[in-house]
Amino acid sequence: MSSSGTPHKSRKKKKDPSQTMNTSNEVSLSESKASAQTPGFPLVAFFWPARKSTSQWVILPLVLIIVGLFRWCTGLWGYSGFQTPPMHGDYEAQRHWMEITTHLPICQWYFYDLQYWGLDYPPLTAYHSWLLGKIGSLIDPSWFALDASRGVEQPLLKVYMRATVVVSEYFSYIPAIIILNRKLAHIRGVNEWESSIALVAILMQPATILVDHGHFQYNTVMLGFVLASVSCMFSDHPIWACVFFVSALCYKQMALYYAPAVFAYLLGVCLLPNLHLGRFIAIALVTLASFALIFAPMLLGSLYDAHRGISPPLSITDREANPLFATILPYIDAQSLLYPLTLQLTQIVHRVFPFARGLFEDKVANIWCAIHTLHKLHEYPIPLLQRVSSFATLIAILPAGMIISLFPRKELLPWTLASTAWGFFLCSFQVHEKSVLLPLLPMTILLGGDGGLSVEMRAWVGWANMLGVWTMFPLLKRDELRVPYYVISLLWAYLLGLPPTSLDLYIGKRAARSGMRLSTQLLHLTFYAAMATWHLIEAFVPTPKAKPDLWVVLNVIVGCAGFGICYLWCTWQLILRSGVMEEWFDFRAQMQEKEVKAGKEEKKPLLPPTKGKRATPPRDAKGAKMAKKS
């Protein structure tokens, strides 16, 4: 990684003009002898006939259709909780929310029969469920009949539910990725053809397809909002970035994984290079306003319900279960307007952030679960564990947060998001195995950037994704999704030329030229070998009787180690690319100079010149591209 460590000044781009094609990812064209060009990996081959002069407007619809087909066909398989009464799974939870939101007064949404999949996502999810429930009830009201519909499993309902996921994705995630991918390509001077290839690579990312369209969830809506927010940051609209990010948070609280990065970036944009007090105030106000707007229907609705005499069914146990409200309760008059409002707000917060639960749920490849296998953690009191995990998370996200607020540059954003999300995933409290989608997304986005399809980047992003989807295998296996798991993940590996299907990235001429370190290659290959071996063992060797979870635990430990490496890599790349090292060395050199020529004046201030130097390359690329176009 060292050779291309100094980023966006890649030697590759200098070669460009001499080549027939403008390409910063020349590796995707492999042999640079103009006559014998061949596609670097299978995905490129599919775009080969389009490499000259095919408009993106022809390719894009075809791409959207194909990725949609793979999503839909994954949906033909099982889903979480299929035929497993009494609780079923995530599919039933989502359906149940459509049921309660369409039938209950709004003030009862967060209170109704919490033991059976009570609503525990923020309000935007509730509104979304309401909308989908309303539309679905037009087709067949029995799908969402209150209480009576629990656990229904009709084939047509499944089709409807699957369709809602696909449609929601096509309205959020997919346009967001397309726009962000184009912005990234535009800023970094990647040509349209390569950008299309990267788009397919990103959209075929196996983990997202399998979780949303196989297991059944609506993660892509939240991820779509996050990407839209990042897009806005790329096009210098921090205000809109706030709106979208708040929407993401209010759709699914998991977006908090990105929050420190977003916060630090926006803070940095306000403070550096000069202080923008107006912008800072605007951002703060807009953020508050967005929250208010999104919570408004909820709160106004509860007020209206209180006015009508409808109150949430709050039993004593619930009251005790909601410590937040219990602490506030003595200070509020039960007759005042504040009462329903605070009740509603505290209940939402209490439902959305279940601090009372354990350190981790199920088996998830983060450090707590990994440590737990060696040293049982549940002996410790939960508050202590909470504090430790919060502290660990803080340490983990600190480097990325500091760098991005000191160097608030757009091209560093994906790295920062990835680094903080990995930090959260590895160290925070109450992590699901599905949460790995969050750190994977910004890493995968990198494929669309400068040199995103180069050997090294593909190797890392591909490796992280393969590892991520592999850690979800136990979950997918429970949902009877083994076949789609193999098909979708191997297909992605095949398209990108990754190890189970091809060793081109690590062995052979091209790998040698890529400048990847031997240690990196060995590391990746070892993990791939471990994953393959694990699959063989899991499939053919029964677990020892005393330890029925042994294979899953092994999966967790290997996964955790890999994710830790991903975290380190992302953070290291962020440090390298931010230029903080160079500045440190500059600074040290200057200090030494100073010592030598003591008493002499400093020639130039520290920060600005290096900053200026750093900011130019993107603009150059843009300019060069425009020149070429004309």
């Binding site: 081959a45 599919f46 033909l76 398989w77």
Partner: protein, 501 residues
Amino acid sequence: MAELYPSIAQTAVVVTALKILLFPAYKSTDFEVHRNWLAITHSLPVKSWYYEETSAWTLDYPPFFAYFEWLLSQAARYVDPGMLKIHNLGYESWQTVFYQRSTVIAADLVLAYALYRYIQSSPPSSQKSSHAVAISILLSPALLIIDHIHFQYNGFLYGILILSLNYARKQSTMLLGGLLFAVLLCMKHIYLYLAPAYFVYLLRAHCLSQRSMFRIRFGNSVKLGSIILAVFGAAFGPFWYWGQIEQVLRRLFPFSRGLCHAYWAPNVWALYSFTDRVLLLVAPRIGLPIDQSALNSVTRGLIGDTSFAVLPNVDPRLTFALTLSFQTLCLLKLFFEPTWETFIGAVTLCGYASFLFGWHVHEKAILLVIIPFSLLALKDRRFLGAFRPLAVAGHVSLFPLIFTAAEYPVKTVYTIFWLILFLQVFDRLAPVSSRPRVFLLDRFSLLYIAISIPLILYCSPIHELVFGKKYEFVPLMFISSYSAVGVVGSWIGFSIVYFTS
């Protein structure tokens, strides 16, 4: 020669992924048919294969296909012996589904190989278009819908057909082409429709001297004759020896069926029936006599024997006469000009004639036209002009085969994908013709393709929203009549191009 991308193998890998994901999709009774054949061939002696009738789905394919099923049943034993029991009617454990679906995918390798050979043996100047055509066949939505959702083994069989057509390119391998076609006939007798073209071509190009049609090449004739006899002997010999030929033929050619299949295949008879339905509404006003006995069958919908209320009924002999006479026309040209491209054209026209005029034609038989035609579609722009409406009509006409909600997006979206992609690619690759183009044909095909979109929308979601379950035959009738117009139009267009080039 530059390598062509994406290669057949690369495409095959990706499309195989899609096919595997379709495992749990809807499957028609053909799935049970093939399971039953696995059971029959596995558990009964060859002698009783064509007599067994525990299931309604008796063995009605020729012996080679039965042997093929026997081969598959050998491995099926290790997967789930349950599927090999004759009395396990409707048995579909997930192992059975996985196994049967996988055999279809595996058998598709023959198609991929055939297409690979086809690209390799086409002349360098046209290799690029051959490559495009080969990929289009490999990705054919018709094959995806029929084989991987509905369930059949067409990809495999058409692979053999393409291999055989390809071998017929050169004198040196022509014999092999004939042999493969004979094998194909002994696998599925529907290919008899194409046999006249083979007969004339092999006769003229292989058995008669190239310079004079009156000089017979005895060596070639004897070789070809004995090979074909040997193939048929291997297939039917045992049954002939046991005196079962009559029974086998009765199974292969059930003449008791009606003129039109349950869904009308988009052919001339669909237009004929459509006219009859329209006349039925108009008849009382203009005083035409109505056959009252036929009314029942009209109101019953589309199933069963078709009889017409206003128009005269159609005799099976008439359909054969029509089919044969149209086939003869194109064969005459082939006889006097026995080039490979004319041969492919003649095969296509034989397919057309039998599809358009045949008795009890399945809509799936449209592949008999589409696949040979694809091989010619890029010859020049006039061919492409005739191909376009066929590509639309042929695939749209298959939609009623799959009527379940979950598969609806797959069939429509995939077909639309294929049409956008390949009509575009073909348009870019087809060379300009040396002869003038056929007047209005292009405008016609554009209009025709445009109509397909509202039609598809109407026929599935809109009709059901408006009328519910009532008038179920109306959308079906629209689809077949619409497709029939396209198929007939492309047939006329292709005939003009064929006879004038």
